[in-house]
């Protein structure tokens, strides 16, 4: 289902309404995502505030980052945006096989990213001794990346549900097409938040002198 066809369908579905011509659910999703900027903005500012403050006891997050490792997991998440958009594109061409494959690939890449995060947290806590309770900078790091990880996990669950439906006979219907598009929007959003986090939190962080 293309968006053009979709909008045309909308026009006939809402004959008696003065409307924006944007599907209700899509409009709702974009509004939700725009509010998520305030959500993640608070988390990122919280991290920036405390990671720049000197004089805390214990390890600062910037002292223990493993940049090559995080670069790889960032790359994985970035590429999951590609597979997501390919899944959506395949469905618009009614290519159910392609949709299935790319949906699964997206969920798998998301899971790899999550696995990386679990590994990273474990490393920091057990080997580097940086816990949630170590200092405010560490608290802020775990809260930010933890909430982002939760978003990724929710996305993976939604992707796997869609994938499950797509494996049934007949694959994803037109109605599910919009679901796929909405999950896709959410997924890309989680990705762009990580783009910011990767730069602002990992690459630009230096331990305070």
């Amino acid at each position: 289902m293309t968006d053009i066809a979709h909008d045309a369908a909308m026009e006939t579905a809402h004959p008696e309404h003065e409307s924006t011509g944007i599907d209700n659910r899509k409009l709702g999703m974009w509004l939700f995502l725009s509010s998520e900027f305030l959500f993640f903005g608070a988390l990122i500012s919280n991290y920036l505030l405390y990671s720049h403050r000197g004089g805390f006891q214990g390890t600062y997050p910037a002292e223990v980052y493993d940049i090559p490792f995080t670069s790889v997991s960032s790359f994985v998440l970035l590429m999951s945006s590609l597979t997501m958009v390919l899944a959506h594109n395949a469905l618009t061409r009614k290519d159910q096989n392609g949709t299935r494959t790319w949906l699964f690939a997206t969920a798998a890449l998301g899971a790899v990213f999550l696995g990386g995060q679990v590994f990273e947290f474990t490393e920091f806590i057990t080997n580097e001794g940086m816990k949630l309770t170590t200092n405010p900078a560490a608290s802020a790091f775990y809260l930010l990346t933890g909430f982002h990880g939760t978003h990724v996990a929710v996305g993976v669950i939604m992707l796997l549900s869609l994938w499950g439906i797509s494996r049934r006979k007949g694959g994803l219907s037109e109605k599910h097409g919009l679901n796929l598009e909405l999950v896709g929007l959410y997924w890309h959003f989680v990705d762009i938040i990580w783009i910011i986090i990767f730069t602002a939190v990992y690459l630009l962080s230096v331990p305070p002198a």
């Binding site: 579905a13 809402h14 008696e16 309404h17 003065e18 409307s19 924006t20 944007i22 599907d23 209700n24 659910r25 409009l27 709702g28 509004l31 939700f32 725009s34 509010s35 998520e36 305030l38 959500f39 608070a42 988390l43 919280n46 505030l49 405390y50 403050r53 004089g55 805390f56 006891q57 949630l132 309770t133 200092n135 405010p136 608290s139 802020a140 775990y142 809260l143 909430f147 549900s161």
Partner: protein, 677 residues
Amino acid sequence: MTATAERPATTIFRRPASTTGLWSWITTVDHKRIGIMYGYAAFFFFLLGGIEALLIRTQLATANSEFLTAGAYNAMFTMHGTTMVFLFVMPVSAAFMNYMLPLLIGARDVAFPRLNALSWWVFFFGGIFLYSTFIFGTSFAPTGGLGVGGNLAAGGGPGTLNWLADSPDAGWFAYQPNAGPLYSAGTAMDFWALGLQILGLASLISAINFLVTIFNMRAKGMRLLRMPVFVWMSMVVAFLLLFSIPIIAIALFMVTFDRQFGSLFFAPTGGGDPILWQHLFWLFGHPEVYILVLPAMGIVSEVLPVFSRKPLFGYSAVVFAGAAIGFLGFGVWAHHMFASGITPVAQAAFGLATMTIAIPTGIKIFNWLGTMWMGRIRLTVPMLFSIGFVAMFTIGGLSGVTHAVVPSDWQQTDTYYIVAHFHYVLFGGALFGIFAGLYYWFPKLKGRVMNEKVGKLHFWLMLFGFNLTFAPMHWLGLQGMVRRTWKYAPETGLQPWNFAVTVGAWIIAISILVFMYNWYTSRRRGAPSGLDPWDARTVEWMSPNPTPEYNFAVPPVVTGLDHFWHLKYGEDEEGRAVARPDKDEIVAEIEREQLNPESPIHLPNQTYFPFFMAMGIPIIFYGIIYHTTLWGKALILIGAIISLSAVMGWAMEPLEEPHPEHEAAGSQGDTKVAYDD
């Protein structure tokens, strides 16, 4: 009722179909029923908040009073503020938006009826969760959280039940580190933080729902600049919620993590910065102030034109001013923090920004006055409350400007002058507007008009009691009486006015009893309203009273602002409104048409899932508070299972069941309603 005739079962559970009784309310997705539930729940919490206020005032009536302990007093002012803001004014505004928004834009329901039910049930369970602190808070929490032990100020310890003092006691803005684990031991503040988290979720969901409704569900011809002002104000409020709730959500999560998991965001001993909490709280808290008052402004903008028999003066200026207030509302938060040591540059900037808010507010006040000017004013109860709103809000607005002047604000910070100010804008403002709306739109609910005589008694008692309560607080505050202190010495000379204030508070309580009597009796014995009891202007009055389930048998096609008025009235050469000769027939014809749908109208089917999905959330949150125990962990799991199962059921269930007999008969004449969910 044609709309609820057939209910086939297509999913695992049989679809609920009861139209009366408890389950019909639990499973409803009708915006009107949801609005009614919001309204009654909000009023219930209003009474609780009122009782808390009366306890506070009784304590302060005399010097050195021993009526309440310090701990109980702290808990009472905390819960009074929290209740009135989050459990009364916000949900009662949600009640108005739910019931009235679709009617005002000529729609049959909101854009997402099931999400609407979800946000109501999330609110409902959130309110119960928050208030359950009176039962579970502190005393029953030997192991919850980091702060083990009783409420220090209350003198209670683990195991001793102290009903009043066991509730949250760190103020409605929960300044850190006072609200942290060290100084607010026990679990009461955890109930507070997680309770507000749930209520915020409800607000966020309804904000998105109302925005999409306003953008996509308007009746044909109702372009944005033809919408009633209440709809505009609801839109601004929804945007404010959309962008401010996420901020408080994070701030509250940080509090919960500090208290439950030992993070160090706000603990100065570990390097945390309490001022960060103040920034985050007021980043949300100031938009919140406009979230509380803008719906009332919208109601008043509906009522004043009707009872002045004139169009709203400067409609687009009022709309623009409302949007400007919303926009500026995001840029003034630090005026709550002038005494917290922010830099002189910040103080000057936020002082100036705060003063600019007076401009759009002034525009509105002058437009309301302009609406009444030379109008043929009918002093009905809704009109009296609206005029009361304008007058009282102006007083509160003027004292507000004095806080924008930083040196003056330093003098006023944490005194009763501030208490006087925000009660003039929130009680004199929001509450008077809310009562105006309740009297004005009551016929939509019951098909009857509330008793005018009793209503006038309510108004004058409330106006008198209100001013007796809050006007003297100005001078008490300027004499140096501080907020949040449970005692004052006799030699301060503060007692006479404090006693007057307490008398005023009790008079307000009596006026509320008068209102409740009026509401209760008018439900059955009020004069029948007919279609158009007020000679109104907007399309919600083209739907019969009480509102049928489908709202409009024939959705209106709107041709301009005040569409309904222009159907009834023409103009003479000098531009004065003249009733059309066949006005009564026009109104009667509209009522006939709207009461008799030509074909069955399909509405969204009832559903169990929003209720159960919402129910899981407080269970999870109880589990978080008691997460150190095994049964706490079990609660998290149980709550998650309930919520996730409900999500699954929801996803599998279509919003509307198919209607085979109509499909077969061809779809012409079959009115489809375009909802999504």
